[in-house]
C-alpha cells in the first residue's frame, strides 16, 4: 500500500508547487497592478469568485468548529471529543482562507483594520469584520493546546483550559452571528437578487446550511486523512454525524420549500431560466441527493457512502453561495461575469495552501487519534478508540454525558 503512494505523492507535490508559484504570481499582479488587471470584475459586478467562494464558503466550511465545541464542552457529550481537534483546525483554516481572500479582494488591503476604529454598526459588513477578527482569535486559542502539547508547554495549556468554556460560548455566539450575517449581507438587495434565492429568512438559511456543511467537512476530512495518513475517526462517530447531517438537511429542505411556496416562487422553478436550472442543480445535488443517500442505513454506515454524501453536501453548499453571490445577481446587474484565470488561480492557491496546512497538522500534531498499525483500514467498526472502549453496538447507550 505504501509503495503505491510514493509516485502519487511526488506527482501531487509537483502540482502543488505549480499552484503555489501561480498563486504568488497572481498575488503580485493583484497587489501591484490592481483588481482590473487580475479579475473580471466590473462596476456592474463588483463581487465575484473571491467574495463568493473564498469568503462566503470559507466561513461556512468552518462551521463544524463552533457546533462540535459546544456539544463537547458545554453539553458535555464526550462521545464527539475525538473529532474536536479536526473541526477546530478546519474552522481555523477556513478563517485563514477568509482572511487571505479578503486581503486579495478588498481594494485597499492595508486598511483591513479600519473597522476596528471606524465604526458603522448599521453595516452588516462591519459586524462580519468584527466577528471574523474575534473568531479567528478564539479559534487560535482553541487550537493552541494541541500545539502546546506538541511543544510540551504545560503552563499555557493550563491557562487556555481554564477559559475553555467562556471561549466556546463566545465562539458559538460569534459564529451564529456571522454565519447568519453573511445571509443578512444580501438582505439589502431585494430587487436585485433573484427571487429563488432572495428571502427574508436568508440569514437563517445561511446558518442552517453552514452547520450541515461543517459536519460534512468532518466526514470529508476524516476520509481524506485516512487515505493519506492512516489517521481517521471511528466509523460509528462518523455515522452518527451522518445522521445529524441528514436531519439538518431535511430541515433545510422543508424550510426552503415552504419559503418558496410562501413567497409564491415555486413556479419560478419550472420557467426554464438559467437561474432555475442552477437552483435545481444546487438543491438536487447538494440537498436532495445526499438526503436520499443518507437515509439509507447501509450507506450512512459505510465510509464510502458517508464520504460521497458529505462531498455532495459541501459542493451543494459551495454552489449555493456562488448562486446567491453571483448567479442570482447576474440578471439584474446587466452584465456578465465569469471569473478570470487569475481569480480561479488565486482561489486554487488558497485552497491548496489550506490542504497543505491541514495535512501538516494531521501529520505532526494530534489532530486525529493514532490508528493501531496492525489495524489495516478495513471497513470495520472495531477499531481502536482512545476515548472510550465500548463496542460499536453500545453506541446508543453513550457512557457519558447523560
Amino acid at each position: 500500500m505504501n509503495r503505491k503512494w510514493i509516485p502519487k505523492i511526488t506527482f501531487w507535490r509537483l502540482v502543488f508547487a505549480a499552484i503555489m508559484v501561480m498563486g504568488l504570481y497572481v498575488t503580485y499582479i493583484r497587489l501591484f497592478k490592481g483588481l482590473g488587471a487580475s479579475t473580471a470584475l466590473s462596476d456592474k459586478v463588483p463581487w465575484g469568485l473571491w467574495v463568493g467562494f473564498d469568503v462566503l464558503c470559507g466561513v461556512g466550511l468552518a462551521a463544524g468548529g463552533f457546533t462540535i465545541t459546544l456539544i463537547v464542552h458545554v453539553f458535555n457529550i464526550k462521545k464527539y471529543k475525538p473529532i474536536l481537534p479536526s473541526t477546530v483546525l478546519s474552522a481555523f483554516l477556513g478563517y485563514l482562507l477568509v482572511n487571505a481572500g479578503l486581503i486579495l479582494d478588498i481594494g485597499r488591503p492595508y486598511r483591513i483594520w479600519h473597522p476596528l476604529i471606524m465604526w458603522n454598526p448599521h453595516s452588516v459588513m462591519f459586524e462580519v469584520a468584527w466577528c471574523v477578527m474575534m473568531y479567528t482569535t478564539v479559534l487560535s486559542l482553541e487550537f493552541s493546546p494541541i500545539i502546546f502539547e506538541r511543544l510540551k508547554w504545560k503552563k499555557p495549556i493550563k491557562i487556555v483550559k481554564t477559559i475553555t468554556i467562556p471561549l466556546v460560548i463566545m465562539g458559538f455566539i460569534l459564529s451564529t452571528l456571522h454565519q447568519s450575517s453573511l445571509g443578512t449581507v444580501f438582505l439589502i438587495v431585494p430587487g436585485r437578487l433573484h427571487p429563488l434565492w432572495y428571502t427574508p429568512i436568508l440569514p437563517l438559511m445561511f446558518f442552517i446550511s453552514a452547520i450541515a456543511t461543517g459536519f460534512s467537512m468532518v466526514i470529508f476530512e476524516s476520509y481524506l486523512s485516512r487515505r493519506a495518513f492512516n489517521k481517521r475517526l471511528e466509523l460509528d462517530i462518523l455515522a452518527s454525524i451522518g445522521r445529524v447531517v441528514l436531519v439538518i438537511l431535511a430541515v433545510y429542505f422543508v424550510l426552503k420549500t415552504k419559503d418558496l411556496y410562501n413567497r409564491g416562487a415555486l413556479k419560478l422553478l419550472l420557467d426554464g431560466s438559467h437561474e432555475s436550472k442552477m437552483f435545481m442543480l444546487e438543491m438536487g445535488f447538494g440537498v436532495v441527493a445526499p438526503l436520499a443517500l443518507l437515509s439509507v442505513r447501509r450507506i450512512r454506515e459505510s465510509q464510502g457512502g458517508l464520504f460521497v454524501a458529505s462531498v455532495m453536501v459541501v459542493m451543494g453548499f459551495v454552489m449555493n453561495r456562488l448562486n446567491v453571490s453571483i448567479t442570482g445577481m447576474m440578471r439584474s446587474s446587466g452584465a456578465n461575469y465569469f471569473p478570470s484565470w487569475m481569480e480561479i488561480g488565486a482561489t486554487m492557491f488558497l485552497v491548496a495552501a489550506g490542504f497543505a496546512l491541514f495535512a501538516a497538522a494531521v501529520k505532526y500534531l494530534r489532530v486525529f487519534p493514532e490508528e493501531k498499525p496492525a489495524a489495516e483500514p478495513a471497513e470495520t467498526l472495531e477499531l481502536l478508540v482512545p476515548q472510550r472502549r465500548t463496542p460499536h453496538n453500545a453506541g446508543m447507550a453513550a457512557p457519558v454525558g447523560e
Binding site: 482590473g36 462596476d43 456592474k44 473597522p115 448599521h122 452588516v124 468554556i165 452571528l177 430587487g191 427574508p200
Partner: protein, 269 residues
C-alpha cells in the same frame, strides 16, 4: 434643510451640458469607459425612446450605500448630499453591490483604487451655490432647490398640464425617498427606471436583523453559560456520588456487582 434636484425628462434636449460641466468640475479623466456611469462619468444622459434621461447618484434619504459601508466612508449629510471619504474606504465594494441604482463605480485599473460617484457638488452646495450640472443646464430640465419646494413644484407641473406628465414623481417614495426627483411623460419603466423598488428604506431590511444582535449576545451568552454551569454541576455531583459509592464499597456495605456496573459507566471520563 435637505436640498434636492428636480429633473424633468420632458424638458431635456440631450445637449450633454451637464455631463461636460460635471467633468470639468470634478476633473474627471476621459480615457475610460464612457458608456455608463464610471470612474470618468458621474452623470450620463441616455436616450430612451423619444426622451433623454439623466442618470446620476440619487442621493437617497436613507442611502443603502452609506448603511452598508463597514467603515462609514459614505455619509448622508444634513444638506442632502451623500459623500465619500476616500481616506476611510477599504474597498470592499459593498456599496456598489447594495445601491439599488448601481451608482457607485470603482477605479478598477488602479493599484490603490477609490470609489467614484456624484457627490452633489457638496462644496458648492455648502457655499450656498448650486451643483455644476444644474447651473449648466440651458433648458431648466435640471433645477436645484429645497427638496420640499421641488416636490411642490413637481406636483404643480403635473396638475397644471394634465396629460403631459405621468402622475408619479420618481424619487418621492422610492426606497424611502431620494433627493433627486424625476418627472416623465411616459411610465418610468419605459425610459429605463426600475419599477421593482420597494417604498421603504432599504437599510431597514438589514437593520431589523442587526438591531437584535446585542440582545442575542446577552441572552445567548447567559443561557449557554447557565447550561454549562448546570451540566458541569451535575458532573461534579456524579463524581461525588461515585466517590461515596467507592467508599461504601471499601467498607463492604454495598452490593459490589451493581457498583461495578455503576462504575463502569463513568470510568471512561
Amino acid at each position: 434643510m435637505q436640498k434636492g434636484m428636480l429633473i424633468d425628462t420632458t424638458m431635456c434636449i440631450g445637449c450633454l451640458s451637464c455631463e461636460e460641466a460635471c467633468r470639468e468640475k470634478n476633473n474627471l479623466p476621459e480615457d475610460c469607459d464612457q458608456t455608463d456611469l464610471s470612474e470618468c462619468k458621474f452623470t450620463k444622459v441616455f436616450q430612451r425612446g423619444d426622451y433623454y434621461v439623466r442618470k446620476m447618484c440619487m442621493h437617497c434619504i436613507e442611502p443603502a450605500c452609506a448603511s452598508v459601508c463597514p467603515v462609514g466612508a459614505l455619509k448622508k449629510l444634513e444638506e442632502g448630499p451623500v459623500v465619500y471619504d476616500e481616506n476611510k474606504c477599504i474597498g470592499c465594494r459593498y456599496c456598489m453591490q447594495a445601491c439599488p441604482f448601481q451608482v457607485p463605480t470603482y477605479e478598477w485599473s488602479k493599484a490603490l483604487p477609490r470609489v467614484r460617484k456624484c457627490w452633489f457638488c457638496y462644496d458648492r452646495v455648502l457655499a450656498g451655490g448650486m451643483p455644476a450640472c444644474a447651473e449648466a443646464c440651458p433648458t431648466g430640465a435640471t433645477t436645484f432647490g429645497e427638496r420640499g419646494a421641488l416636490l411642490l413644484e413637481a406636483r404643480k407641473r403635473i396638475a397644471d398640464t394634465p396629460g403631459q406628465y405621468q402622475a408619479h414623481i420618481f424619487g418621492e417614495h422610492e426606497v424611502g425617498g431620494t433627493s433627486m426627483l424625476f418627472l416623465a411623460a411616459v411610465p418610468f419603466e419605459q425610459i429605463g427606471f426600475k419599477s421593482n423598488l420597494i417604498q421603504k428604506p432599504l437599510p431597514l431590511l438589514t437593520w431589523s436583523v442587526l438591531s437584535k444582535i446585542p440582545d442575542f449576545v446577552l441572552v445567548g451568552g447567559t443561557l449557554l453559560g447557565g447550561v454549562a454551569w448546570i451540566i458541569n454541576r451535575r458532573m461534579v455531583l456524579e463524581d461525588e456520588r461515585i466517590n461515596e459509592a467507592q467508599k461504601r464499597a471499601q467498607e463492604g456495605t454495598d452490593d459490589s456487582s451493581s457498583l461495578k456496573r455503576f462504575l463502569d459507566r463513568f470510568k471512561k471520563n
